[in-house]
Symmetry: C2
Subunit: 345 residues, 2 copies
């Protein structure tokens, strides 16, 4: 059967709801995602409320679609991105991520081998982060109606009691932290598109952050704001915080962690690392007096070794982010107006 | 600003994570979905465990992507489909559907007016069914990377204690019911594609089924199996039940409810209404002695007025569905092997 070339590619029958789809689900998804919630293949996973982690009193619920191009890049692929991206959106509320759904939209003619690589990546990333992919859906559309493969993941987690992270909680005197080098993911995708020819390719920073967040919460249970700096980068997150709390954000250019290679990519292409996408970086706003403790917790975690305090929250200018440049000047860091890089995640 | 033609179409900037995306979210999604979980615009909705309905002990969690072509059709559009489809996947576990996520993938150049129509439809469908769309994500891809607009919805509901609906629970002697005419959705989409020129267009049966399921559970809390007959139709659902429980399913052709127009469409195109997609029809397997009570409950609900008992579960042939034809013969109703109609939902 496998010698027939057609059997190595996705066909419309794989999205029919019929036999081919069933086979694909059993041989690919159930095998790589292997968990007791998915295996019954009902149209919905059923999760006992008692299976939710103790000590939590709220669910966190978040969704993200992934359309990255190319599908594979140094440091990850669309599968690792789809798992870690949604884990991180959960983790930014302080939640322990527990369950994911997986919705795939496949282009007719996609290589099954490629699909299996992606599904395997997702299974590995889920295992590594301790989450289960418990329900899914697969659609196949005719050639040309989608570019290869898009994935939606939606996540469920439980937020511990006493944790109240929210973007409007930033207040003057708070410190602004990031957990490492900015812009690695954006630069890796640009490089993977062949638009550069770097001697030392940049790897995406794609990684799950719930362990780092737990370590930070141990050091300071009263973290005010947390957000992962994906599309739009650190600058966009800070603008969102500044507007939600009607405070200012003052960054010190000299303290911004950016890799030399990424700085070089930005100079060549006229990009600003503050707006470049990350897939394993968060921005945290913490009470000023807790800043050093949170920084120490960050740096002692593998996902935060290059963590840094990059600025502070100020009373004015309300709703604005200001960068104090290395040369002693100041400039406004605004919301991104156009599109920096399409299909970055 | 609105006089600029570009402002009426989706641009890559709407997916940037920056200012244009923020504006789109606030003017479109927050306005039409209006609920307290979405409004804070955090990256995840936070749902108090105490907000979940009393009497439930399990979460139902399900995902579905919608790629229907055309986007608008008699009886609904991709928005109503995306809301009701996921509500129905929750309802088939007996769950009360509560919360949805919404992940949109938009093609650059899509009309904003069209997008707003879809979002408005989603808001209306959610209100009508008593669910809230509490978190979302929007990606924009360059022209040609997706055909107009795809939507993923993922749903959360709570399953009442004592309800144990599962596909492996079918047993000999059980009755098989459907809640009305089969194949309306499939026929409506074929017609909307302009492949036919029907005098009386068929309308999609797109509707939420949780109220019907609640009425059926009141009549018989021990419903064995429930599944909505979407892609692959009633035949596919019955094959899944037959295989999961290793029982036979015997259908009476004369009792299958099919509209005259739909029967006509099937004859013209060589389709079988048993495999045609539905978006508001369920297949129920109930203990034989409860069949009449469930049928009465069905028929007294607006979503089940044309409900019918269409067959019974048998000991043999194991894993197979058999149709007793009107002419006195028998034929096997197998799993669908090819693809009947792509992009039907």
């Amino acid at each position: 059967m496998n010698s027939h070339p057609g059997s190595r590619h996705v066909t419309l029958a794989h999205g029919s709801g019929g036999k081919a789809m069933r086979d694909l689900i059993e041989t690919l998804f159930v095998r790589h995602f292997h968990n007791p919630w998915l295996t019954p293949l009902e149209d919905q996973a059923r999760i006992g409320l008692g299976e939710l982690s103790p000590g939590g009193n709220r669910l966190a619920f978040t969704t993200d679609s992934f359309v990255v191009d190319p599908l594979f890049f140094p440091g990850g692929d669309i599968g690792t991105l789809a798992v870690n991206g949604t884990i991180n959106d959960l983790a930014m509320s302080g939640a322990l991520p527990l369950y994911l759904s997986c919705g795939m939209i496949l282009e007719e003619g996609l290589s099954i081998t490629l699909l299996e690589e992606v599904v395997e990546s997702m299974g590995r990333a889920a295992d590594a982060a301790g989450v289960s992919i418990v329900t899914g859906d697969t659609k196949v559309v005719p050639r040309g109606a989608v570019d290869k493969l898009f994935i939606n993941t939606t996540g469920l987690g439980v937020i511990p009691e006493g944790v109240h992270i929210a973007s409007h909680r930033a207040q003057p005197g708070d410190a602004i932290l990031v957990n490492g080098f900015m812009g690695d993911h954006g630069a890796a995708i640009v490089d993977a598109r062949g638009e550069l020819a770097l001697d030392n390719p940049v790897e995406s920073d794609c990684q799950p952050l719930q362990g780092l967040v737990a370590a930070m919460l141990s050091a300071c249970p009263d973290i005010h704001c947390l957000r992962d700096a994906t599309r739009g980068g650190v600058a966009t997150v800070l603008n969102e915080f500044a507007q939600a709390a009607q405070v200012g954000m003052r960054l010190e250019e000299a303290s911004l962690p950016v890799r030399e290679t990424v700085r070089g990519v930005c100079e060549i292409l006229g990009l600003d690392p503050l707006y470049l996408a990350n897939e394993g970086k968060l921005v945290a706003i913490v009470p000023g007096e807790a800043a050093e403790a949170v920084l120490a917790a960050m740096r002692s975690h593998p996902a935060g070794q290059e963590g840094a305090i990059i600025g502070e929250v100020t009373a004015v200018p309300e709703g604005r982010v200001v960068l104090a440049t290395a040369l002693g000047g100041e400039r406004i860091v605004d919301m991104l107006v156009g599109e920096q890089l399409p299909r970055i995640c």
